[in-house]
């Protein structure tokens, strides 16, 4: 543990910068990432440090961005592509789920690319700047899906993503960019890698488990703390961090231990990633369950822009707490 706490967005920036310093093959591409440093300033200063060769400004062409990343990856580079907002990955969707995702399966060709997706709501972005796209990718074999909730994980998972030999979509939460802070547990070499496919138990508990990731983790932790303080409930919070691959063992162990499972995500309910988690628990933990498996998620609608609407729409700690109380009383 060294250094000052950094924000989540700064952690992403630092990880990317450090990987670019360590590995000449790593480069970035995307819209407005050069001189401007990207819409969220993740690549700020990169053009000066690494030059236009390694910080490639592109036209507004998301399919080209992903496709070109594939081409570069199969030629031995390590592209990190930025979507200006996760929402726009729909325009590069086909390249990701059809092209990047199938190269290794059919030809044994590794495609080590990362697509950064500034995701999620809570910032008044409205229907076209708030998307949580994880479930689309989880239902697309051949793509790994990461969703860090802390600054340290944002750092360590970015590094893992870049070093991984497969296509990775990296969901970074706009809501957490500046709200979430943490110390980076750097090793003596300045490195810190969080292994892909491992969840983290953020809070130990015995009476219920909350499974979550990304923006949901903060809601879950706050709700768990209040449940402890106000209701004397002991709630475990599991931060999945990696959705594909999923750390099934940690999920199963926690669910079996507590016998009550609540799933929390900011994405919309139906066919969201929470459904997969519920299915996993319903399959693997049946005999251990003392209550139904519930999900707290956004209603099945686009994300509205106005604050009252979005507050109503988004899950939050109060909703999670309400569900936890009802679940524990079941």
């Amino acid at each position: 543990m060294t250094g000052e706490p950094v924000t989540y967005v700064e952690a992403i920036r630092l990880a990317l910068q450090d990987e670019m310093r360590r590995d000449e093959r790593v480069f970035c591409l995307g819209e407005d990432i050069g001189q401007y440093g990207g819409a969220f300033k993740v690549t700020k200063g990169f053009l000066d440090e690494f030059g236009a060769r390694r910080v490639v400004d592109t036209p507004i062409s998301e399919s080209l961005i992903v496709g070109a990343a594939i081409g570069a990856a199969i030629r031995g580079l390590r592209p990190v592509a930025e979507m200006q907002f996760a929402d726009f990955v729909t325009c590069g969707f086909s390249q990701l789920v059809v092209n990047a995702a199938t190269f290794h399966y059919r030809l044994g060709q590794s495609v080590p690319l990362v697509v950064r997706l500034p995701s999620g709501g809570g910032v008044g972005g409205g229907p076209y700047h708030s998307r949580n796209p994880e479930a689309w990718f989880a239902q697309s074999p051949g793509v790994k899906v990461l969703a860090p909730a802390t600054a340290a994980d944002a750092f360590g998972l970015m590094k893992a993503a870049i070093r991984d030999p497969d296509p990775v979509v990296y969901l970074e939460q706009k809501f957490l960019y500046r709200r979430e802070k943490g110390t980076l547990p750097l090793g003596p070499d300045g490195d810190h890698v969080v292994p892909i496919g491992s969840a983290a138990v953020r809070r130990d508990g015995t009476q219920a488990t909350v499974l979550s990731y990304a923006n949901g983790v903060g809601m879950a932790l706050e709700a768990a703390a209040r449940a402890a303080a106000e209701d004397g409930l002991s709630v475990e919070v599991v931060d999945l961090r990696s959705l594909v691959p999923l750390d099934r063992e940690t999920v199963i162990a926690s669910a079996r231990k507590t016998g009550r499972v609540l799933i929390v995500h900011e994405a919309t309910l139906t066919a969201g990633f929470g459904a997969e988690l519920a299915a996993l628990v319903a399959d693997e933990c049946f005999e251990w369950l003392d209550a139904p498996v519930w999900r707290v998620a956004a209603p099945d609608a686009p994300t509205p822009a106005e604050k009252n609407l979005e507050d109503h729409f988004r899950p939050n700690a109060a909703k999670v707490l309400g569900a936890l109380r009802a679940l524990c009383a079941y």
Binding site: I60, W294, P304
Partner: protein
């Protein structure tokens, strides 16, 4: 036409040409004065929104069409009632010309419950069902295929309507631009696609977006008509648009109309546009489309200083009214967030909420 490409800095002493150079039959003075008023209204409205934003009375991204008024207004002005318009985020002028009022737009900007989108959507994403204005979405390029479908439908239904849509210089790089224009050309659709080349796509200059000389050079590759006009010259824009509409209505197919202007403010209000060279700002400041039209009208005896001042005051009053009215409107309550996803839905299909 002579326009300043973003790549080359303007030569000092470059002079601003007279308005309407090369236009054979310029619109009459009342038309020009009407357009000027619409342009002033758009500018006044957006200046006010910027002020409200700085006072935290408007939240979220604030995009303005400052510098784009000649394009948005003069392309919308010659439309027939049956024409259908699909404006973009810098086309407030077109909204006003086509019938949206300052109140309509202000309610939307302030995300009031009574706004067209009831606070669900932002900015200029407005257009009522049944009207001839289609509300844009953010994904650049996406409205051009929709415009092609509109054009197809108008022909199908036997109206004489033309579909008119807009895209930025940056948005021309999207796949949708290509797919839609190609199809429009093949099907000879009654469509006009106006490219608003304001030199920048967010922070990205023209030379990092495309390598052709003019974006209208793409028209030949689609087998459609193409033209580039000075987008700070309302007369040129109007004239080219009239020709494009005639062509579309006459069965001559679509037109790609590039209007070259400048984004006189940041991409949105959070953007200090530090990346824009000051000489470029100065060059285009001398070509403010509203000033140019105003000077022209003055020279023609169509708008003296008094009339101009009155025009500005009228605009300010209309905007004052819109702000007062819209600010007094209630915000959405919240539960509407879950409503209206589908035109037909039964409650039994919705899962109960946990938590």
């Amino acid at each position: 036409m002579s326009v300043q490409p973003s790549a080359a800095p303007p030569a000092p002493g470059d002079t601003v040409p007279p308005l309407g150079a090369g236009v054979h039959a310029p619109p009459d003075v009342p038309t020009l004065a009407g357009m000027w008023r619409a342009m002033v209204l758009a500018r006044t409205f957006e200046d006010r929104v910027v002020a409200l934003y700085r006072q935290n009375r408007v939240t979220g991204g604030v995009y303005t069409g400052t510098g784009n008024e000649a394009t948005s207004v003069a392309t919308a002005w010659p439309l027939a009632p049956e024409d259908v318009i699909l404006p973009l985020h810098r086309d407030l002028g077109a909204h006003f010309v086509r019938g949206h009022t300052p109140r309509d737009v202000m309610a939307q900007v302030l995300k009031r419950a009574a706004a067209q989108t009831g606070g669900k959507d932002t900015g200029l994403h407005l257009g009522k069902p049944g009207s001839n204005i289609v509300g844009m979405i953010s994904h650049l390029g996406h409205m051009i295929p929709v415009a092609a479908g509109v054009a197809l439908a108008e022909r199908y239904r036997g109206t004489r309507g033309v579909a008119v849509t807009y895209i930025g210089d940056g948005g021309t790089s999207t796949g949708d631009f290509h797919e839609a224009l190609n199809f429009a050309a093949v099907a000879r659709l009654p469509l006009v696609c106006v490219v608003e080349n304001n030199q920048w796509a967010y922070s990205t200059p023209n030379q990092l977006e495309f390598a052709c000389a003019r974006l209208s050079d793409r028209a030949a590759g689609y087998g459609m008509a193409g033209e580039t006009v000075d987008g700070t010259d309302a007369i040129q824009v109007y004239d080219a648009m009239v020709r494009a509409l005639d062509r579309a209505r006459g069965g001559g197919g679509p037109t790609l109309l590039e209007s070259v202007t400048f984004r006189m403010r940041g991409h949105a209000e959070h953007d200090d546009m530090k990346y824009v060279p000051p000489e470029m700002v100065a060059y285009w400041a001398a070509r403010d489309p509203i000033d140019r039209l105003e000077r022209h009208l003055d020279a023609m005896g169509g708008l003296d200083a008094d009339e101009a001042a009155r025009g500005r005051a009228d605009a300010a009053a209309a905007v004052d009214d819109a702000v007062t009215w819209a600010e007094a409107l209630p915000a959405p309550r919240g539960p509407e967030a879950e409503e209206g996803v589908f035109a037909y839905w039964e409650p039994r299909w919705t899962a109960p909420r946990r938590g």
